[in-house]
Symmetry: C5
Subunit: 367 residues, 5 copies
Amino acid sequence: MTKRKIRRKLNIKTRAIRPRKIAQKKGKQPGAIIYVGDREGMASSVNIMEYNWDHLQEYSLASMTELEKQRDSNTNSWIDIIGISDEKFIEDLGKKFEINNLALEDAINTQQRPKIDEYDNYIFGVFKMLYLDDNQQLVVEHIALTLFKHNVLVFQELKGDVFNGVRERLRNRTGKIRAKGADYLFFALIDAVVDSYFEVSENIFERIDTLEDEVYYDPKPDTARKIQELKKEVIRMHKWIFPVKEMIHRLIETDNPMISKDTRLYLRDALDHCIEINETLQIYREMSISLMEMYMTSVSNKMNEVMKVLTIMASIFIPLTFIAGIYGMNFEYMPELNWRYGYSVVLALMLIILVGMLIFFKKKRWI
Amino acid sequence: MTKRKIRRKLNIKTRAIRPRKIAQKKGKQPGAIIYVGDREGMASSVNIMEYNWDHLQEYSLASMTELEKQRDSNTNSWIDIIGISDEKFIEDLGKKFEINNLALEDAINTQQRPKIDEYDNYIFGVFKMLYLDDNQQLVVEHIALTLFKHNVLVFQELKGDVFNGVRERLRNRTGKIRAKGADYLFFALIDAVVDSYFEVSENIFERIDTLEDEVYYDPKPDTARKIQELKKEVIRMHKWIFPVKEMIHRLIETDNPMISKDTRLYLRDALDHCIEINETLQIYREMSISLMEMYMTSVSNKMNEVMKVLTIMASIFIPLTFIAGIYGMNFEYMPELNWRYGYSVVLALMLIILVGMLIFFKKKRWI
Amino acid sequence: MTKRKIRRKLNIKTRAIRPRKIAQKKGKQPGAIIYVGDREGMASSVNIMEYNWDHLQEYSLASMTELEKQRDSNTNSWIDIIGISDEKFIEDLGKKFEINNLALEDAINTQQRPKIDEYDNYIFGVFKMLYLDDNQQLVVEHIALTLFKHNVLVFQELKGDVFNGVRERLRNRTGKIRAKGADYLFFALIDAVVDSYFEVSENIFERIDTLEDEVYYDPKPDTARKIQELKKEVIRMHKWIFPVKEMIHRLIETDNPMISKDTRLYLRDALDHCIEINETLQIYREMSISLMEMYMTSVSNKMNEVMKVLTIMASIFIPLTFIAGIYGMNFEYMPELNWRYGYSVVLALMLIILVGMLIFFKKKRWI
Amino acid sequence: MTKRKIRRKLNIKTRAIRPRKIAQKKGKQPGAIIYVGDREGMASSVNIMEYNWDHLQEYSLASMTELEKQRDSNTNSWIDIIGISDEKFIEDLGKKFEINNLALEDAINTQQRPKIDEYDNYIFGVFKMLYLDDNQQLVVEHIALTLFKHNVLVFQELKGDVFNGVRERLRNRTGKIRAKGADYLFFALIDAVVDSYFEVSENIFERIDTLEDEVYYDPKPDTARKIQELKKEVIRMHKWIFPVKEMIHRLIETDNPMISKDTRLYLRDALDHCIEINETLQIYREMSISLMEMYMTSVSNKMNEVMKVLTIMASIFIPLTFIAGIYGMNFEYMPELNWRYGYSVVLALMLIILVGMLIFFKKKRWI
Amino acid sequence: MTKRKIRRKLNIKTRAIRPRKIAQKKGKQPGAIIYVGDREGMASSVNIMEYNWDHLQEYSLASMTELEKQRDSNTNSWIDIIGISDEKFIEDLGKKFEINNLALEDAINTQQRPKIDEYDNYIFGVFKMLYLDDNQQLVVEHIALTLFKHNVLVFQELKGDVFNGVRERLRNRTGKIRAKGADYLFFALIDAVVDSYFEVSENIFERIDTLEDEVYYDPKPDTARKIQELKKEVIRMHKWIFPVKEMIHRLIETDNPMISKDTRLYLRDALDHCIEINETLQIYREMSISLMEMYMTSVSNKMNEVMKVLTIMASIFIPLTFIAGIYGMNFEYMPELNWRYGYSVVLALMLIILVGMLIFFKKKRWI
Ligand SMILES: [Mg+2]
Ligand SMILES: [Mg+2]
Ligand SMILES: [Mg+2]
Ligand SMILES: [Mg+2]
Ligand SMILES: [Mg+2]
Ligand SMILES: [Mg+2]
Ligand SMILES: [Mg+2]
Ligand SMILES: [Mg+2]
Ligand SMILES: [Mg+2]
Ligand SMILES: [Mg+2]
Ligand SMILES: [Mg+2]
Ligand SMILES: [Mg+2]
Ligand SMILES: [Mg+2]
Ligand SMILES: [Mg+2]
Ligand SMILES: [Mg+2]
Ligand SMILES: [Mg+2]
Ligand SMILES: [Mg+2]
Ligand SMILES: [Mg+2]
Ligand SMILES: [Mg+2]
Ligand SMILES: [Mg+2]
Ligand SMILES: [Mg+2]
Ligand SMILES: [Mg+2]
Ligand SMILES: [Mg+2]
Ligand SMILES: [Mg+2]
Ligand SMILES: [Mg+2]
Ligand SMILES: [Mg+2]
Ligand SMILES: [Mg+2]
Ligand SMILES: [Mg+2]
Ligand SMILES: [Mg+2]
Ligand SMILES: [Mg+2]
Ligand SMILES: [Mg+2]
């Protein structure tokens, strides 16, 4: 696979280290609602799940005024906004819920790193969702969660997500999710995001395992490149995942009454998973460094082998050729030449030298 | 030993860095009691040791209702649950003791990293137990300890463990264990787990020592691989052992009245051991890095030796062959050829060059 | 490009690691108003933007007494001092605003690292402004911002800066800038400086990308040098940018009443960006280390290839030459020589050896 | 020196990273008084120095009851227990002074890392004493100091120690030691232990210096091994010495009334020395890494030199031999062969090529 | 320059990592007034500058009783003690000012690392002064500053120092130094010491710059050694300079009334410079690591070039020589030999092979 192809395949992921887009905002005031990302021109759609223990209603948003009903009612709802590049729509929606422009700006800035901000009436969090699409390609999706007293707003870039398990639990009344408040839904979504990291991590593990075999049994120049790409990918994942640990910790420790004591217990469980995934990434990092080390070792060992072949061949045949050269000289008076057994004796001498050299190399354990 | 074999041998240990199983729980609610691990299909059995200073009773649990007796009595007991893949059984048992589902879930999730959680009526801890089985193979076993006022529940995966010393002390009334509360038993089990790390650490030390000799006296491409496997194993052990230090520290510092002042003194002793084992692992890590460095040095030195042989052989015989070549030319007018002593003089010249070259290489300390 | 040329191109940037100029101040009392830098002999000019919601006035300062008016009036103004090498002028201006000599000294010391100092009536900050000039060359400009209750003083070295966006927002009444206090202007200028780091960071990203291709497809000795220059530049940028994170954090946390609660919210947004840029620089650092590693790998792989060619050529032809040498000997009694098919058989033998060697090398996967 | 010999020489020191002995305690209760170490079978002897300003008495302990007198008297005494492998004796002695079994256990566990524990009536500290014996071999001795109100108990493994200076000051009434309390004696012993680290550190410095010369002027494969042994030794010393800094710091900061304000001033002085020795070890570590780097550089440079010789010899003589080969061909029609000056011209041509090559290599600065 | 010469040149600097002298104090009581250093046998002289705003008096101390006058008067004075190896003199002087023996000991122990200690009536600080002497050689001088209410005592080893600027400001009444208290003089001396670090740092920068050119354009084995020496020197400077940051910080934060609020403002300025110099040293460290990396790269690239020349020469001429060897064989029946155009055709064939090889190497970009 050529580098260009690799790059094309990774282009979604490389985004995280591309500072280009954010530079376009130069000179703009803070809080300017501008989509930063590469999934432009998508219409926003809004799916709503309104629920309490007794009933559940799912529907797509038809008009903005329906949002006001959700905002003001006391039943919980999950308001799922899909497609964030329609800046006008996002701005209107933000106004309905009185979301600060600084938060809205970050909700649609896919360069924004993960973070939690607490405002007076809501808690706003930015995450990166990682999952494999139907073609087993990694998708990195920017996502923002906003927790109100009775609502959770989700801003996501694309249609697919990692929340189907949560949806099923809501529909089937599995566990306690329908019995609990919006803060539990907020937790459940974060938990699903964190769980998604394990899947991607598994994918990385398999690549490490494959590369390990390649390094040991068939190292090629291309192998080194693959190891470096792997290392870069682990670094990137670290960038997306590492802040989440601190974010969940802050949600557990905050004195914000929107997070119930019971939900904090669950967040502690999610925190465990976050610590685990970060440790795993750290180990992958060290493993990729070891892989590179092993690769260099393989290259050196192969060079050693090449040199040994050369040295053995040259050390054996150069002296023999010299002897042949001696008796190829055209001096008139070379008594050996006329000797009856000259030729046989020289051949025998050559054989002795050959065997001697072989023993020497055998002793040196080169052959 | 081929890599596949190495891997099979290590398969228990590699688990710790395999994120696969946990991904199966995707979409499940938190607190879902699902066994995560590779020791499935094992029936659970429960052994109980009930004791106070005056008497000790050991028996296997026949029916769940016996558990209620233990739960409600004021004598101490050690309830040892062996085999944790029977999810239904674990769930029932958990309900009897009113253990939070989040804790139960972690008790049977072998991917869970070591941790201590304090609940209202009990303290719940997850550890990794390391020991050598009868074939001297390393076993890594997930274990969960739960301290109640008068009971310690132990969840373990397999039959063997590192607690025989504690059992003997209970049976023989050695030391103060029978005179003290359940918190002392809880400590004694943790202490036994920590002691087990030293045994495995000793095993690693011996591997380092063997590899050191191999690197110095007979480095092979395979040596590098063994060093890398060693490094990976130390990293893994660090992952299992490092959190325990912080866990014991928290047990010492907690204001939980279940841990008596006296037991904290003993925990401080266990903490010492934890610090020691972590320092040792750190040193092993640096030693394995040094081993790799030495290996690379050995490879370079061997290459140097190979090159010297080649250079010496070629530098001596290539010029001599050239001289022979000169007098092998077929020019009609080559006065030396007809000279009576031509052959002898040329042979003498060659000898002088040979000796000269040998002196040159001797001076350079190459031979 | 020769090194001298590279150096000339970079000469503005290398300044940061050149301790020369500051040494000239040896023995001077602290607070001595001495310009330290390499943009000497520039006259200072002062541009003033005075504004509130209703009107805006822009003018160049004609006489010092106009400054007193600004100092004492209650409308906000941005006093932009361009050119800081005229020490006398700076000292006079400083006296008008009662700026401590220690602050003034740092305002015109381009070696001063970024920092925030709070004085009784003003807050004084030093930054480095990074931007590309019209020839796409990087300019590093020392800049000092001083926030008074109704004034912001900006000391900058050269005419160009990164504040045109802020000027436009003031002129066009975009956003809330005209409605807010001097502290918001102070924030807006800091925000513009931080935004400028993203642009330079983008430039670095492109250089990394180019070097990556060069390392993979066409590594030259010069490539290593370029990677090292890149690494040095990232280190330098880190030096200029890293302190800003802590500085903004302090502005958010200070109990200084000059910074309103609302402005702190905006500073939190700028802090996000600062964290982001620092993370990015950290990743660039690791990438440049990886590049160097890959370069070394490339060099080793190329050496391997060279050695293989040599070994193949020598291993094939040296034995063949030896055989030819045998039959070039001039012994009288060499029966093969007179054999009718001698020549053909020897040629056939040589062909067999040649093919045998080729198969051998094919098997070793060298060809 | 062979590796086995090196190892035998270092065997006392390697102990610190050998986890073997401690594993024997598996299953034992905490506080079991078991000697862990390799200086077994030594009888314990006890030397006592009882002193105040006016008189000093030195004697060897004859019976345990004498200890009770020391324990209960108000004169200071230094009770020096030499030989700690007699577990019964240590246990009895411990009971007399009511020392906690956990402390006693650590006093005779030579694997115990340095630490300070405060008990109700005494302060217990474990240290490693480092010194050179009469054969200039490094001795590492486990030592435990216990400070009571009027007594200092010292547990040491062997007869020699670093306390002769303290003994002399006691005998000669030098300085204030006879005028001060047991806490000052406790400090003086710690101070002597810390001073001993400087001596060993000096020894390491000399080894670094010798290795530096070896690396620069005569690098051998063995040199690399010596550097690695050095690095390992510095790591080990760090393990023994590093904790002492924190220990002394705790003695300075504790609110324990047994340590007088005046003694804390002296401890601050010892702390200075501890910081110094730790910094020095850190520098040694970096120097040993640099040494290894230089060694690798030397190996590469030597390889370069070897290759240059080969290349020069081969590049000069292989083409010349080819030319000789041309005119060694037996074609019938080779006009040059019959030419009168053919031989001379070919020889001249060869000379020109030779000189040309030499100039080429001179230009490349290879010769 | 040979290593011995380098070492002699550096001998003052190596002192910092030589633990030798301090070991001589083994067994001495703390506070023993013993000179530790290599500038022994120097008589002490004392220069005094007594000053207030109105007058200034400079004189050399004739008798100890004059010191009492200075000690008790209320005018400020700078008491400059030059030469600290006369232990008796230092002890007497210390008694006059009631300086604690622990402080006096450190004042004349040139191994003492930089530190600040606060005593009841004075503040005692140890620094390292770095400057170039008249021969442009680096001098490292141990210096101790003691601040009393109206006096500053300076203990320095040698006659030269970095305080001439301060002396001139005192004599010429430049700035506020004559108007302020002894604490400002104390600050001014510390500030001068810190400024001196910049000069030495500039010297290091120039060495890095020179080595960079050497590595790029003319790397020799000696270059590696110079880089290592540089690295060691940066490490040493770090050891001397790093603690000063924390020391100045403590002077700013202390609640000691001897340091006025105004002086703290000036100390904050010196702290800035300390942070700057430490950052610079950190960058030098990374640059010296990069230099070593580049050196290794250069060595590898040169090896590559050597190997290419060898491979090209051998690959071209070995096959050609083989062909010549074929037709040098003496078989009777070799039809080509008798062919009229045999010789020309073989020569042509050789030419074709030669050109083919050249094209091959051109394609590989080796030539
Ligand atoms: Mg913004
Ligand atoms: Mg994204
Ligand atoms: Mg989506
Ligand atoms: Mg989860
Ligand atoms: Mg594997
Ligand atoms: Mg869990
Ligand atoms: Mg869970
Ligand atoms: Mg496990
Ligand atoms: Mg088990
Ligand atoms: Mg234990
Ligand atoms: Mg060993
Ligand atoms: Mg212990
Ligand atoms: Mg200054
Ligand atoms: Mg200054
Ligand atoms: Mg600048
Ligand atoms: Mg400008
Ligand atoms: Mg911004
Ligand atoms: Mg790329
Ligand atoms: Mg933002
Ligand atoms: Mg124990
Ligand atoms: Mg020991
Ligand atoms: Mg002893
Ligand atoms: Mg001492
Ligand atoms: Mg030296
Ligand atoms: Mg001292
Ligand atoms: Mg001392
Ligand atoms: Mg001096
Ligand atoms: Mg200064
Ligand atoms: Mg340069
Ligand atoms: Mg300043
Ligand atoms: Mg390296």
